[in-house]
């Protein structure tokens, strides 16, 4: 499979069809892989794809990460299904144009939840929860796919919600709050959760705004709670569930539990799953006659 991807990448670069191929390469130790930017055809041999390829690469298509300053006219990117959902969502939000991106889709069998959990194979003990019940293992939107692309029914609701969400929702409110208090106590506001998120694409994030200062920049209780709740709200109906925010948090805070819960809410309320359609507009900025109204009392 990776040979076909490499060949395609080589051709794209040789023909000058793209300026760069964003993909994965071996990392600095055997359990890790790393994002790589390939500009020369001879370097395509470095490309790999396997269950250690956790990163959501579309974050590099996000203007927060200097994408628009790099002057690339056409970018090829290796995408597993969930990452392609992120690309599709970026396009739907007018952050990208479909024709500036060349999507090299890969068939995916799931990825590990954390590099630390890699023990040579993928199994129920280390498979990221987002991969359980994933409906884009054969990706939906691609420009190249190695081999035949079977039709997949993606109409059913998510099953990918982590068990943790249900466990938390079952807790009494005060216990749930106590859980977040201990977890958030560790947050020191490094903003890795924001920087890895393909959809945190604001030029100036609300937490960096100083006039006025909406969110206390300090990592105390108030500053941390307001940061996470605000961020969760900004990602309602936009989060494509890559789980990177949790994976990246150096303090082991499961940031994406909020986003997963909100994902369920949006799904229940609007039957909307972000990242599946280039045209569908976000439900919170559109109005449909059959939108739910029973919460207006």
């Amino acid at each position: 499979m990776i040979e076909q991807i490499r060949n395609q990448a080589r051709q794209l670069l040789e023909n000058g069809d793209v300026d760069v191929v964003i993909g994965y390469a071996e990392g600095s130790d055997p359990s890790r892989t790393t994002p790589i930017f390939i500009r020369k055809a001879e370097d395509v041999e470095k490309l790999i794809y396997d269950p250690r390829c956790i990163n959501s690469l579309p974050l590099y298509l996000n203007k927060r990460h200097e994408y628009t300053r790099k002057g690339w006219k056409k970018t090829a990117i290796i995408g597993k299904g969930c990452d392609i959902r992120a690309i599709v969502q970026l396009i739907a939000e007018n952050q990208l144009k479909r024709d500036e991106i060349y999507i090299l889709g890969v068939p995916c069998e799931g990825v590990v939840s954390h590099p630390e959990k890699w023990d040579g194979s993928l199994h129920d003990g280390n498979r990221a929860s987002k991969c359980i019940g994933c409906d884009v293992m054969i990706p939906h939107e691609t420009d190249f796919f190695p081999g035949e692309k079977p039709d997949v029914d993606r109409s059913s609701p998510y099953e990918a919600t982590s068990k943790n969400v249900a466990t938390l929702m079952e807790l009494e409110l005060d216990k749930r709050f106590a859980f977040w208090r201990t977890d958030f106590d560790r947050c020191f506001k490094c903003y890795a959760c924001r920087e890895v998120c393909p959809h945190c694409s604001c030029n100036t994030c609300i937490t960096d705004e100083t006039m006025p200062s909406w969110i206390d920049p300090a990592a105390h209780k108030k500053g941390v709670f307001s940061w996470h709740l605000t961020r969760a709200m900004h990602l309602v109906g936009r989060c494509t569930g890559c789980g990177e925010c949790t994976r990246a948090c150096p303090m082991g805070i499961q940031v994406d539990l909020f986003n997963q819960r909100m994902k369920e809410v949006v799904q229940e309320s609007y039957s909307y799953k972000p990242g599946y359609s280039l045209e569908d507009k976000h439900p919170l900025i559109t109005y449909k006659v059959d939108d739910r109204e029973d919460f207006i009392k």
Binding site: S28, N164, T167, L168, R194, P217, A218, E244, T246
Partner: protein, 366 residues
């Protein structure tokens, strides 16, 4: 130097004795998880204040995620309060009562980092003493614990330390087999703590076994880099514009993870937290990896690309710290490697620089 032995199983009792002596005790602890066995959950080990000797993880996990930094250099430090009264302002000092503290189970790399922070915050730096740091420091005693199982990210031996180093320690523990620990009393503060633990400390230590145990663990380190040529290479300002900075650094996404987990990173911001006519001026952690860290009001930014911010971080660790503060900038704890979401690895820079420094004619290392 005084030595003794201690039963490993008595560490909980040690903590209880210290607590009975009215000391605040900080030890590694596992944090609760929603779903301990869930695939997304990782063990979360942090230094936390403990109220009893039960459940501690001293000598068990490797490195607590947070390190000891936040107990000396707070994440959020109110510097003073103010109140506006018409055209007048009143400044109200915040009263800090720092409890006498013992941090137990500190690994050698973390212990070595204290001297580095101290070189920035003490009056040895330009005559300005940060009293919030130095007062905490003077009330904190470090009981360190030699590593037994370094992981693939550890590289202390590449920065002149070792898994059994007692640098920065007050009282140092090393496993010598049979469930016993070799205890070394390093400083006066360590001696005071040893006194509290007297009933548990036995006879003399076993220096020979301790040395041997240390050497065996040192052998286990796999990440070995030659840091000797790095500083000289960085001193040559022409190398500041070397092509490697951009090549290795372009994947950096500018989160502050590597800096916030780093035991020697000292950078902060000063902001006002205002409520009506009152408020606090506070010091909060900041990071040179953030794009607005050096942004001038004019819009000019000397570090206008992310790779330049990481270049600063590497220079900070291997040139600025040793040159300006005369202490190590990196203690090889590997936290930044473990924390980086895009696997940007400081030891790859080290290897590349060492290669360039020793092969000046190499056109480009692949």
């Amino acid at each position: 130097m005084k030595t003794a032995t201690l039963n490993k199983s008595d560490i909980g009792k040690c903590i209880d004795l210290l607590l009975q002596a009215d000391l605040r005790v900080i030890a590694p602890r596992l944090q609760p998880q929603v779903d301990e066995d869930g695939p997304d959950a990782l063990e979360v080990l942090t230094f936390t204040e403990v109220k009893s000797g039960e459940g501690h993880q001293v000598g068990k996990g490797l490195l607590p995620l947070n390190g000891v930094k936040e107990f000396l250099f707070a994440k959020h430090e109110p510097l003073f309060a103010y109140e506006k009264r018409g055209k007048k302002i009143e400044i109200i000092p915040v009263h800090h009562e720092y409890p006498q503290t013992v941090i137990i189970g500190v690994r050698p790399c973390d212990a070595a980092s204290i001297a580095s922070l101290e070189s920035v915050f003490s009056d040895a730096n330009a005559g300005f003493e940060d009293p919030f740091f130095t007062e905490r420091r003077s009330r904190t005693t470090f009981i360190t614990y030699s590593c037994t199982a370094p992981d693939s990210s550890c590289f202390c031996t590449s920065v002149e330390l070792s898994p059994d180093s007692a640098k920065g320690s007050d009282l140092h523990l090393t496993e010598i087999g049979d469930g016993r620990l070799h205890v070394e009393v390093i400083t006066k503060a360590g001696e005071a703590v040893a006194k509290q633990l007297q009933e548990l400390l036995k006879g003399e230590g076993d220096q020979a076994t301790r040395e041997k145990a240390g050497a065996e663990v040192t052998e286990k380190l796999t990440r070995i880099r030659d840091s000797a040529p790095i500083m000289d290479w960085l001193m040559d300002t022409a190398n500041f514009d070397d092509e490697m900075w951009q090549r290795l650094g372009e994947k950096c996404i500018g989160c502050g993870a590597c800096t916030f987990v780093c035991p020697t990173c000292h950078c902060f911001d000063i902001v006002d937290e205002n409520k009506g006519s009152k408020g606090y001026r506070v010091k909060i952690w900041d990071s040179c990896q953030f794009d607005h860290f050096t942004l001038h009001a004019s819009g000019h930014n000397p570090r206008d690309w992310q790779y330049k911010r990481y270049r600063n971080r590497f220079n900070c660790k291997f040139k600025i710290y040793p040159e300006k503060f005369e202490t190590p900038g990196c203690v090889g704890c590997g936290r930044c490697i473990r924390a980086c979401p895009v696997n940007l690895d400081i030891t790859e820079y080290m290897a590349e620089v060492a290669h360039k420094a020793t092969n000046p004619n190499a056109i480009k290392a692949e």
